[in-house]
Amino acid sequence: MGAARAGAAYPRFHRMKEKNRRMTDRQTIFDSIAAQVAPFNKKGVALTDATTFAGDLEWDSLTVMDFVAAIEDEFEIIITMNMQAEIETIGQLVDAVVKLSAEG
């Protein structure tokens, strides 16, 4: 066990660094969120910071709920409903995830 743990130490440390870097890189977070949007993007809307969830993507409240839960789990954060009320665009969501990931 001791040997196995020592052998695993470096890769685990590397993964943590990798994760920290990933969490704070805005473009990476945008890409990750865009990937999560894709399955719900039925009209194939081109995604930019200005894309709105209700208007452009035409999501109903149930879709938003599923999506927020997926984003929370992807980044291991909590986006409270109070915060969700202020988030209307993909750019606002990316900024919120950047901020929350840095806090976490």
Binding site: D60, S61, L62, M65, A69, E72, D73, E76, I77, I78, T80, M81, N82, G104
Partner: protein, 420 residues
């Protein structure tokens, strides 16, 4: 005067003005959907009038005797002779209404007797009666959790729970319906020092499914500073040895801090309540705005509620009949080929899942035409965008009625194509 004319013109913009908007414009989609539905020739599912109510299970709608299978009148207490006598007596002795808040002139002997009955029923040191169940959730959640605190709630929570969150100043966190893992994960991401209120329901009223409370309580107890509130609106009267609810049946009584409930289901009248044994609970009477700033229940209502609650303490036979009816309807509908909200009969609510609004309304209307009333439910009230016919059973449904109900579902299902 010219100002007044300008104002009047603005308030009544002629329809020919292009793109005219007012505060009702946001409802245009809702109005259009309703008009499209009614123009298809169906009756309005949200405008039923019961012209006569003959018993807890039978009413007259448009001149037709109709079996009631969507009233949440689980224990059939609405026509109980003792309950009615108590209400009449209170009406004679205390008048039609209190015209006042519970904390001013609106607490009568009957309100105290009703709270005493609740304390006896639940075995708690405190009980607080609200004017509706909706207000009980609104008041408890918004008052308990303040600025900087967290309310953690199930995504499928009742509207009164959501509205309690929105009325208060706390941070609101939602977890996936009945998911212990999701609840655990979210609690783990909250600040350790923050105070948290976790809100659960014993029975979820759309699908009629029951919460896995022991596993949820165990997950919650891994995290500090959590209090637990369970809404037992659809569980009171027939879950647990004393009929207290799902939390009693599942053996987590010592872990729950607050139980919220209603008089408008098993108790058979109207009103709401919260019971607790917290030593400081009574302060809620002063702090809770939906309790303070509204008139209290009429004397006749609290008298009927108190009598009904005390009778429900000894209603073993009714419980048996209710569960028997629920089990029979569930297996009967499943055998006919309907898709149901739960694999097993978990509560007294059985939901039939239909494919879309057209099929749901057609089925609902076909049932009504042959003499059966059920609830129609649709998004956003329902989970996962489903269209449901919700059936809720009553202890007073006879074996013959349950047989008739199944026959009606078969006929309506074949007529509308909901059954192959």
């Amino acid at each position: 005067m010219s100002d007044a004319i300008d104002t009047a013109a603005d308030a009544h913009t002629p329809p020919e003005v292009p793109g005219a908007r007012d505060l009702f414009s946001k409802f245009d989609g809702m109005i259009a959907e309703r008009e499209a539905l009614l123009s298809a020739g169906v009756r309005d599912p949200f405008a039923i009038v019961m012209d006569e109510v003959k018993s807890p299970t039978l009413a007259v709608i448009k001149g037709k005797d109709t079996i009631l299978l969507g009233t949440y009148n689980y224990m059939g207490m609405t026509f109980d002779p003792d309950v009615i006598a108590a209400g009449k007596r209170a009406l004679d002795e205390f008048g039609a209404g209190t015209t006042g808040s519970r904390v001013l002139n609106g607490t009568y002997q009957g309100h105290k007797e009703c709270e005493d009955a609740l304390k006896a029923f639940y075995g708690t040191s405190s009980a607080m009666v609200f004017s509706t169940g909706y207000q009980a959730n609104l008041g408890m959640i918004s008052t308990l959790a303040g600025r900087g605190d967290y309310v953690v709630l199930d995504a499928d929570s009742h509207a009164s729970i959501y509205d309690g969150c929105f009325l208060g100043d706390a941070e609101i966190v939602r977890f996936r319906h009945n998911s212990v893992e999701d609840l655990d994960k979210r609690l783990g991401r909250l600040p350790v020092d923050a105070l948290k209120l976790v809100v659960l329901e014993g029975v979820y009223s759309m699908m009629g499914d029951v919460a896995p409370l022991p596993a949820m309580v165990a997950a919650i107890r891994k995290h500090p500073n959590c209090m637990i509130l369970v809404d037992e609106a659809h569980g009171m009267g027939f879950f647990g040895a004393n009929g207290r609810g799902v939390y009693e049946e599942q053996g987590v009584e010592d872990d729950v801090d607050f139980i919220v409930g209603t008089f408008s289901k098993s108790v058979g009248t109207v009103g709401g309540f919260c019971v607790s044994s917290h030593p400081k609970f009574e302060v809620m009477r002063l702090a809770c705005r939906p309790y303070v700033f509204t008139a209290s229940l009429p004397p006749s209502v609290v008298a009927t509620a108190a009598t009904s609650i005390r009778k429900l303490m000894h209603a073993g036979e009714k419980r048996e009949r209710l569960w028997k009816n629920s089990r029979r309807l569930h297996s009967g509908l499943r055998d006919l080929g309907f898709t149901l909200g739960t694999d097993t009969p978990q509560s007294a609510i059985i939901s039939v899942i239909l494919t879309d609004q057209v099929q749901a309304v057609a089925m609902w209307q076909a049932l009504l035409e042959i003499g059966l009333y059920v609830n129609m439910a649709r998004p956003p009230a329902t989970p996962a965008g489903t269209f449901l016919l919700r059936c809720s059973l009553c202890a007073e449904h006879t074996d013959e009625q349950v047989g008739e109900i199944l026959g009606m579902f078969e006929r309506a299902g074949r007529a509308t194509g909901a059954l192959a």
